[in-house]
């Protein structure tokens, strides 16, 4: 339990840093750390597969994409558009509305019955593999057609046509 609180604190702390850091590149780096804490959460919840996917896809692929886009956009203080007062007021109003909504929904919260997992190993890769290759074998196999179609299409669109004679 203590580990959970530590990780939860780190998640909140780093997500705040994402918002408050002035430099967008730092912001993205903090976001990566935030995602990493999420990965630990998944491990704590016994969802190993989800943890690995989160680690590879979010931290690996998507964040690299983020960094690339930032690099291409070349964000800095000079290129940042000035925000007028009206926009700022609108932002404050919207933020307050969100806060009120959140507070209202938190008030309606109550502690539900603690959920007891019937099968504590449910998130393990082993079980997932069993389901995937037994019950969901056909969708798994058919996905190959989807990937192949997408691959053929991507090559088709990206390939340079030879010059028309």
């Amino acid at each position: 339990m203590n580990l959970f609180y530590l990780i939860a604190f780190l998640s909140v702390f780093f997500s705040l840093l994402v918002i408050f850091s002035k430099n967008p590149v730092y912001s993205v780096l903090y976001l990566i750390i935030t995602f990493f804490t999420f990965t630990i959460h998944y491990v704590l919840l016994n969802a190993q597969f989800l943890a690995i996917v989160n680690f590879i896809v979010y931290m690996g692929a998507i964040m690299v994409l983020f960094l690339f886009v930032l690099m291409l956009l070349n964000l800095n203080k000079d290129s940042e558009p000035l925000k007028s007062n009206i926009v700022k007021i609108a932002g404050v109003v919207a933020g307050m509305c969100l806060l009120v909504t959140l507070a209202g929904s938190v008030k309606a919260l109550n502690v539900s019955d603690p959920l007891v997992l019937k099968n504590p190993d449910i998130g393990l890769v082993q079980n997932l593999g069993k389901v995937l290759f037994k019950d969901f074998l056909l969708p798994f196999e058919v996905s190959s057609i989807l990937l192949l179609a997408a691959m053929v299409g991507a090559v088709l669109l990206a390939k340079k046509d030879p010059k028309k004679v």
């Binding site: 969901f136 969708p139 058919v142 057609i145 179609a149 088709l156 046509d161």
Partner: protein, 458 residues
């Protein structure tokens, strides 16, 4: 299942043929393979099977009938493709393969018994179509069509997937029967179920292009190459509605009182927007795009009047709409290729020089408008009587008014062809086109005169 395997393998085989530069063999092999797939699909007729692959798919008569008609329509569309792709670029084999991949997805869409199969089927079809819409790489409107279709399609897939997830949250099952059992056995289902149904409805309405989720249709249909538009507005639309009807019939039927008002609104809006906007179009292709929205409205009637014979009504309507659209697009392709224009004026005087083209196009227009003795009339008649039987009188009255509006713009083409004389050169009609046009015209009239041929099929 055999049809699905055949089509998938055929697509791979076509890719290999392209690799070894056997361009002459592409079309014959594709057509031969499709004929084989059609025969395999039909041979399972009336075998009353059980769901296969741990309840993933079910090849009942519904699935076989709709696989059959989609395979057959693809066959007709591909007959029109003789010499079409070669003009666009040299990667002809890939285009055929992508059309076959889309067809494989469509076979999944009409035979699923599990929502995960529905999702994968729709994705296979859509991904292939995004690319096919943009195969004219140098053409700006084709690029626009592909991008628009991709963004809108991805968006609607999100709705669909979220709906599936919520249904799973409510019922704990992806299986159509499992969800139905949950709906029947739970007197007060959770709110997740209703949200899920609505989200799935929205996702599917996007895919079939029913208003108010139609806004991508005109631009995509207009920008895509005409042959691909023909494929989209016949095969894809039929498959979309078959998937729609399958989930409604097998899964959500016990909750009719909840979703029927929603669908009535959507159907009425599709009719109104499709027909009224089509009146103002100056170009044949764009008019066909809007008319396809209105036909989506008519086809929704089979879901609104939901009972055991809905599949029959949809089958007849889809068949009549498909053959008539193929004629329309066939003539459109010839016209675009040889005059470079598809405005209504370019049809002037067509009856003098090309009486055969003019005649078949007239039959197609009459069928789309729903004039008696054509297949379109039988389709509309079945839809309307069934909807009346469920006491949606106002909707039917509204639909009849819209059908009258539709006559106006369909007849504009006929008037231009027959009553506006103009000197023009004769259009050359290739032999393949003649076969397809003649066959479709004969089929339209036969279905109109002897509807019993197919009306009692499923």
């Amino acid at each position: 299942m055999n049809a699905l395997i055949t089509i998938s393998l055929l697509a791979l085989f076509i890719l290999y043929l392209g690799l070894f530069k056997a361009y002459k063999a592409l079309l014959p092999v594709t057509l031969l393979g499709l004929a084989g797939a059609f025969a395999l699909a039909v041979s399972e007729w009336n075998s009353f099977p059980t769901p296969i692959f741990s309840n993933m798919m079910l090849f009942d008569n519904f699935a076989i009938a709709f696989s059959g008609i989609t395979i057959f329509t693809t066959f007709l569309v591909l007959l029109l493709s003789k010499g079409y792709f070669e003009r666009i670029s040299s990667n002809v084999a890939e285009y055929y393969a992508l059309i076959l991949f889309a067809l494989a997805g469509i076979v999944l869409m009409v035979s699923y018994h599990n929502l995960s199969m529905l999702f994968i089927g729709i994705e296979i079809m859509s991904v292939s179509l995004y690319i096919l819409a943009g195969i004219k790489k140098r053409d700006f409107s084709s690029n626009e069509a592909a991008l628009k279709y991709f963004l809108m399609g991805a968006f609607s897939t999100g709705f669909l997937l979220f709906g599936v997830a919520l249904l799973y949250g409510a019922s704990g099952s992806f299986d159509l029967e499992g969800i139905r059992n949950y709906i029947v056995s739970t007197p007060k289902p959770s709110a997740l179920l209703y949200t899920g149904i609505i989200l799935i409805l929205i996702g599917l309405c996007f895919k079939v292009g029913a208003a108010p989720f139609h806004f991508w249709t005109p631009d995509v249909y207009e920008g895509s190459p005409s042959l691909i538009t023909a494929f989209m507005s016949t095969v894809v639309k039929t498959a979309g509605f078959a998937a729609f009807l399958r989930i409604m019939l097998n899964c959500f039927a016990p909750k009719q009182e909840f979703w029927i008002p929603v669908l009535v609104t959507i159907a009425a809006l599709s009719l109104l927007i499709g027909n009224v906007t089509a009146v103002y179009q100056q170009h044949f292709k764009r008019m066909l795009a809007y008319s396809s929205i209105s036909h989506a409205g008519y086809m929704l009637f089979c879901v609104i009047a939901l009972d055991g014979s809905s599949d029959n009504a949809l089958f007849v309507y889809a068949a009549s709409y498909s053959v008539a659209s193929i004629i329309a697009f066939g003539v459109l392709i010839i016209l675009q290729r040889q005059t470079g224009n598809d405005s209504f004026d370019s049809f002037n005087g067509l009856s003098k020089k090309n009486p055969f083209l003019a005649f078949t196009l007239t039959i197609a227009m009459l069928s789309l408008a729903g004039i008696p003795l054509t297949a379109g009339f039988v389709g509309k008649f079945m839809m309307f009587t069934r909807t009346l039987a469920t006491y949606h009188t106002y909707l039917v009255v509204f639909a009849v008014v819209n059908a009258v509006i539709a006559i106006f713009y369909y007849f504009r083409v006929i008037v231009a062809m027959y009553f506006k004389p103009e000197e023009r050169t004769e259009l050359i009609v290739p032999a393949y086109y003649k076969i397809v046009l003649a066959f479709s015209a004969v089929a339209t009239i036969l279905m109109g005169i002897y509807p019993h041929f197919i009306a009692g099929l499923i």
